[in-house]
Amino acid sequence: MLHETISPPPQLGEEWPYRPRFKQVNGWRMHYIDEGEGEPILLLHGNPTWGYLWRKVIPTLLDAGYRVIVPDQIGFGYSEKPTSEYAHSLDGHSANLVALVRQLDLERLTVVCQDWGGPTGLSLALHEAHRIHALVIMSTWAWPRPPAEFHKSIFPWRTMHAPLVGPYILGTHGGLVSRGTYLSVVGREKFREEAQSVYEDALPDAASRLLSWVWPRWIPLDDSARAISRFEWLETELSKTDWPSMIIWGREDEVFDAETFANRFKEILPHAEGPHLVTGRHFLQEDSGAEIGVLICDFLAKHKAAEV
């Protein structure tokens, strides 16, 4: 029973054949996998998934000779799940990743990020800049104000995580981990059959789903928001970087739509490759995981060849 609560279930089999590893980071127990040898690639998920989201990307990267590290963000997957909203902050989650990367002493690191893997992973990259080789950015953001009307709207976004409503709809009824993920992929029936229960099993009760309504509350909506200065810093500092960078986006993504979000990243990182549009909504790894793996390998190989 204890095993079931702290490690991915063994019945995932060939879909997730990786040895669970754990590190104490920033005071929390973090679950991660660390497979292969070679230059390291860090794959970062967001809300409300876990490393499993990258399962279709990982084999291509391993076959190409990379070392692949995939953590579960604290509060999700098989990492420790704090029981207070006040245990979660943007800076705290970024520091969790800094702690992991330092403990593993990763160098020439490629950071691949999606959803909250973006603000946290890009903060990590800027804070540990000497370790970074490249960035791959997917369905996320890194600036102070949400540029899309969706995040300002009462229905459904603000209602979904409003006081008491968030703990009830997303906590008691698991709205984001069940219905939310299902609505955020293109191949919904395939997702329902193959993957949905894997995400639900990792967040089996209301208390375990805390971060699913807490993280939406960290998206700044006005200048008084908690993380506004961190996002201002992110945008400013990211625009100064010249790391090899690539933007990949889901063609069908309505929440973080490509025209608004991917193009904004292209303005911040004009040297970036892309945006490459693939089949996918917000969880584009579900629909186009293998293709994303190939895009990452081709991108890194191109820059490696240029270095020789």
């Binding site: 229905f155 459904p156 209602t159 409003a162 008491l164 409503v165 906590g171 069940s178 219905r179």
Partner: protein, 133 residues
């Protein structure tokens, strides 16, 4: 018309407090904190006693407000059902009551928050009580 009403403190001698829902950031959208402050007269009574609501099932719920250093009061809120001391409560009835309490709250907070938006959101996320509304 709301089926949720504020009531006086019930006789608690045969009841127990059964946890239902916790909100740690009642002021995430400040109008929610303002509403509870007004409706339960919290500026006057502070933490002296909970507020009580009667929900559609007939169950009374205690609203226990939480203070937090450095933040306006109330910072948070815990909702407890008050069933008979040794009686398990009816999950389905409590879930419907909770939904009714959320609808009552949204009605009270008022525009731009609307019950229609809450009900649509509940249906998107397949909340059973919202589907039955």
């Amino acid at each position: 018309m709301s089926q949720v009403t504020i009531v006086d403190a019930p006789d608690l001698s045969t009841k127990r407090h059964e946890f239902v829902l916790r909100e740690e950031r009642l002021g995430h959208y400040s109008e929610f904190r303002t509403y509870f402050t007004r409706i339960f007269d919290l500026d006057r009574i502070g933490l002296s006693h909970p507020g009580y609501l009667k929900a559609p099932s007939g169950m009374v719920y205690a609203f226990v407000f939480l203070g937090r250093s450095g933040e306006p009061f109330p910072a948070g809120l815990e909702i407890f059902a008050l069933p008979e001391a040794l009686e398990p409560f009816d999950d389905d009835a409590v879930d419907k009551d909770t939904w009714a309490i959320l609808c009552w709250m949204i009605d009270g907070v008022g525009a731009p928050w609307t019950r229609a938006d809450l009900e649509k959101t509940g249906r998107i996320y397949r909340v059973p009580a919202a589907s039955e509304a």
